[in-house]
């Protein structure tokens, strides 16, 4: 009998760990796969959004008369079309459509639906808005100044006791740590204190936000959209439009990248509200400029880090203070940054504090390990400087202080089985780290941490009459996860990979599923699929037992077949899944398994990155010549896609380190809202990225899986900065380290020397 709660690691994998072709591969190489904007509906209208040209302005009046009078315009939408919403949804509502005030350039003011895109574009220009322009602030430190313009007059910093007497732009304060810092620093032989800044970056998914919404006269509605979480879209839109959740069915399209940026709604509630007004389906697609000016990005920051060490290389105290700019609405990214700050280290005296700071910028959204890369740049830069001071190899220094099983983490919980030491040792012994540097090149490294998440999960697994299996999951597949789902179901059932098909079910077909974020999908879906498969196996064993007229306990499941366990149970030929399924109408009906869980036990993960760089001291340009990622996957279900996560995260981090960043003028307007001026890495910017998977099993998953998606973006900023320091002697404290910035720093350093 299969025990569905059995959670031990299974040895002798047959499908897990192989690299089969992904099930959606052919659709995606032929152009057949349907993404957000690839759908049409009969009678469809096109929706467009009017956005604020001002970073901060009171909306005195909106006159839609001229727009509505334009032939072909079927509906115009403003904040007046939305009623009160529960407090938890208020920021979302006020972000998707400005109420009373425009809080950033690009903030939605109104929307139209018209018979074609040309008329819709014309119509938004015919909406007359009267603004009273207010002073604005886009810089994180300026926003905390005493006389800074306030975004929200009613914002009193939360997390401070007693409540502040005056409103400010600091939305939330948070603090983590343990021990006694003063005592720790008093024992230190060397104390370094440094300040750092980073600029905001965008997730940069190539597919702009897009959706098609249909509101029916009977109240039943449908949304098709590109999202990381269609259940979240459903529940949020239902709340914003005050409709019953059961009335709204959301189908996730194929998604052209998200990286955290598609974990919130922007267009979906507007399209649905326009459809409700117009009585016709409404399609909306953002331009790239809208994506930059109105969605994402991640925080910019200013940070202070102070670390004390003894001469023997032991870190004795560590402190950090982070100010994260969180856009026009508060968030939780600075808090995550504070939690991650020192998670790689075993520390007796540690503290990290953080402010979420409101500014006249787009509401920040999660970006791959949200908050972690920013603080990691600061902490790992100081660690690197300390290693130099102590004349220790940077990996050996980290090994001397590395967090291990049983340690109390800097953010609270005690670590279970973790793979940091093995990750560091693997990096140290790696041919890249051991290699002699090429002429003119220098090396840097850093280590990074991310939590990984589990969460609400519901899956269903159906055994078809021919013995093939269909798995329904509720989390969009961003990077090949359907392949991993098929592998885990095939492994558990003992059937070939090609006999399993995994689909992303719509919101009316499964229980609630948390969004594809937090590196949760392979961990939490996998856990549920394995248990669902075990449920189906138990049923199939029972059917065989019934057929053979022996006790259920006397049947076991081996290699896709039920068979008597031992000769005492009886002498029957194994009955395989296809036969059991074919006979199922006569043995009790269809065979299925399902599982619903709030998945806990997602294992944390660590990564070490190594970079060899070449800096052109005449131009300040940095070339990445060799790059290696070493990361703990727990268990790599589909190693090619695990490597892909490592490589993709590294590339994004390299872009963040060297080029990417929001540029604002004094006017508070983003100056580079396009791919030409917001420079993401292109193919010729990068070398091959070696991905080394190590596997320290996570006890919380039957096969040992840890999340792999996010950790890889954490170390690159510091890795590249540390390599640049080795190359030039210049310790950069500012991200991005774009050529003009680095050139200036090199010239300044040369003058001093």
């Amino acid at each position: 009998m299969a025990d569905i709660d059995r959670l031990e690691k299974v040895d002798g994998f047959k499908v897990v760990g192989t690299r089969p072709n992904r099930p959606d591969g052919v659709d995606k190489v032929t152009g057949r796969a349907r993404f957000g904007a690839d759908i049409h509906a009969p009678g469809m209208l096109i929706g467009k959004v009017l956005r604020s040209p001002h970073p901060h302005a009171k909306i005195l009046s909106i006159d839609t008369t001229r727009a509505l009078a334009l032939s072909g315009v079927k509906a115009v939408l403003t904040s007046d079309d939305f009623g009160d919403v529960p407090a938890m949804h208020q920021a979302t509502l006020h972000n998707v459509m400005a109420h009373n005030k425009a809080l950033y350039e690009g903030h939605a003011i109104a929307a139209v639906a018209a018979v074609d895109v040309a008329i819709a574009r014309k119509a938004i220009k015919l909406i007359d808005v009267e603004y009273e322009i207010l002073p604005h602030v886009t810089d994180v430190d300026a926003a905390m100044a005493e006389d800074a313009p306030l975004l929200h007059e009613d914002n009193f910093t939360s997390g401070i006791d007693p409540k502040p007497s005056k409103p400010s732009n600091i939305a939330t304060w948070s603090e983590f740590g343990h021990g006694n810092l003063d005592e720790g620093f008093s024992q230190a032989d060397i104390i370094l204190e440094r300040e750092f800044t980073t600029e905001a970056t965008h997730q940069g998914y190539i597919e702009p936000h897009a959706c098609l919404a249909t509101y029916s006269e009977d109240g039943n509605s449908e949304i098709w959209c590109t999202t990381q979480g269609h259940f979240l879209v459903r529940d949020t839109c239902a709340a914003l439009l005050d409709i019953a959740v059961s009335r709204l069915r959301v189908t996730a399209s194929e998604i052209g990248g998200g990286f955290g940026g598609k974990t919130v709604v922007y267009l979906e509630p507007l399209a649905l509200a326009l459809s409700r007004k117009a009585g016709r389906p409404v399609k909306m697609v953002m331009s790239r400029s809208e994506v930059f000016r109105s969605t994402g990005p991640t925080s910019s920051s200013s940070m202070r880090v102070k670390i004390g060490v003894r001469k023997d290389g032991r870190i004795i105290a560590a402190d950090a203070h982070l100010n994260y700019q969180s856009g026009a609405f508060g968030g939780f990214i600075a808090m995550l940054g504070a939690m991650c700050a020192y998670a790689c280290y075993s520390l007796e005296n540690v503290r990290a504090t953080a402010n979420e700071v409101l500014t006249n910028r787009p509401m920040q959204a999660s970006y791959r390990a949200p908050g972690a890369p920013i603080v990691n740049f600061a902490v790992e830069s100081v660690i690197d400087e300390l290693a130099v001071e102590l004349e220790l190899d940077p990996i050996e220094f980290r090994l001397m202080n590395a967090a291990k099983e049983g340690d109390r983490s800097s953010y609270g919980p005690v670590f279970d089985q973790i793979g940091l030491i093995q990750t560091l040792e693997t990096a140290r012994d790696h041919p890249h780290y051991q290699a002699t540097l090429a002429k003119g090149q220098a090396r840097g490294m850093a280590v990074g941490f991310w939590f990984n998440f589990g969460g609400l999960t519901s899956v269903s697994l159906n055994v078809n009459f021919d013995g093939t299996v269909t798995v329904s999951v509720g989390r969009p597949d961003i990077g090949g996860s359907r392949a991993a789902m098929c592998q885990m179901a095939a492994e558990e059932l003992g059937i070939p990979y090609d006999n399993v098909r995994t689909i992303i079910a719509d919101t009316s077909s499964l229980g609630f599923n948390d969004t594809t974020d937090g590196s949760r999908t392979t961990f939490a879906n996998g856990l549920a699929i394995i248990r669902a498969a075990r449920g189906a196996i138990r049923d199939m064993c029972a059917r065989a037992a019934k057929t053979w007229d022996i006790p259920e306990e006397a049947v076991e499941w081996v290699d896709g077949c039920a068979r008597p366990c031992g000769s005492n149970a009886g002498d029957f030929e194994p009955m395989c899944i296809a036969e059991i399924a074919r006979k199922s109408p006569k043995t009790g009906g269809p065979i299925a398994g399902h599982h619903e869980v709030n998945a806990e036990g997602a294992g944390v993960s660590f990564a070490v990155h190594i970079a060899d760089v070449k800096v052109d001291e005449e131009t300040g340009r940095t070339d990445i010549c060799r790059y290696t990622v070493v990361q703990d996957a727990g268990k790599a279900i589909h190693p090619a896609y695990v490597e892909g996560q490592y490589q993709g995260g590294a590339a994004q981090g390299i872009g963040w380190a060297l080029n990417e960043g929001y540029v604002y003028g004094d006017d508070g307007i983003m100056q580079n809202p396009g791919f030409l001026d917001y420079r993401m890495p292109v193919c010729s910017d990068l070398p091959m990225i070696e991905a080394k998977i190590i596997e320290i099993p996570n006890k919380g998953h039957p096969y040992g899986v840890r999340g792999v998606g996010e950790t890889s973006i954490v170390p690159p900023l510091a890795t590249v900065a540390n390599a640049i320091c080795s190359a030039t002697g210049v310790r950069m404290t500012q991200i991005p380290m774009a050529p003009p910035v680095l050139l200036k720093a090199i010239e300044k350093n040369n003058k001093q020397v």
């Binding site: 690299r19 072709n21 992904r22 959606d24 591969g25 052919v26 659709d27 995606k28 190489v29 032929t30 152009g31 057949r32 796969a33 349907r34 993404f35 904007a37 690839d38 040309a118 997730q203 940069g204 998914y205 190539i206 597919e207 702009p208 194929e254 998604i255 052209g256 990248g257 998200g258 990286f259 697609v285 331009s287 790239r288 961003i478 990077g479 090949g480 090619a640 896609y641 490597e643 892909g644 490589q647 993709g648 995260g649 590294a650 590339a651 994004q652 396009g674 791919f675 030409l676 993401m680 890495p681 292109v682 193919c683 010729s684 910017d685 990068l686 091959m688 990225i689 991905a691």
Partner: protein, 161 residues
């Protein structure tokens, strides 16, 4: 604005369509012909997701007007496979996991095929510079470059017979 009548060949088939003078080839392909394999990532020629062949040139179809293709031949991702047989690049993109989200993939495949048609034995550097007009945010390009290198080798082997 009066619509313009255009007659062209797309993936070997003859098409006639009407389009506005300001309508791009990408809009025509996606919204009038129904070929949504070419993607809009930027509409400014920076991302390459809308790459198609116009004659023997790779172009960003968001920077070409629909009216410009009168009398020309357009080839898109939808025409790359030979019936049910995938082009070796398509097959190897799947095999080498050269796509994650897959949104940029049609543009990469069109551009990579154009490279191999001109240069059957490209170096890694040549591949990287040829594909520098196509943005991919998921993969870090590693597996894309490997898939193209492998395909070139495989096709050279077949050509030698």
């Amino acid at each position: 604005m009066a619509n313009i009548q255009v007659s062209t060949k797309i993936n070997g088939d003859t098409y006639e369509f009407l389009c506005r003078p300001d309508e791009t080839l990408l809009e025509v392909l996606r919204d009038r012909i129904g070929l949504t394999g070419s993607k809009e990532g930027c509409a400014s020629g920076d991302c390459g997701a809308c790459s198609v062949m116009l004659g023997d040139r790779v172009v960003s179809s968001c920077l070409v007007l629909g009216a410009e293709v009168e009398g020309q031949e357009v080839n898109t991702i939808e025409g790359m496979a030979d019936g049910g047989n995938l082009h070796p690049l398509q097959r190897n993109f799947i095999k080498f996991a050269a796509l994650q989200c897959g949104f940029c993939t049609p543009g990469f495949l069109v551009a990579a095929k154009a490279l191999l048609d001109k240069n059957p034995d490209p170096t890694e550097t040549e591949i990287r510079y040829w594909l520098a007009g196509n943005l991919c945010r998921c993969t870090g390009y590693d597996k894309i470059v490997r898939a193209v290198l492998h395909t070139a080798e495989e096709m050279r082997g077949q050509a030698r017979g």
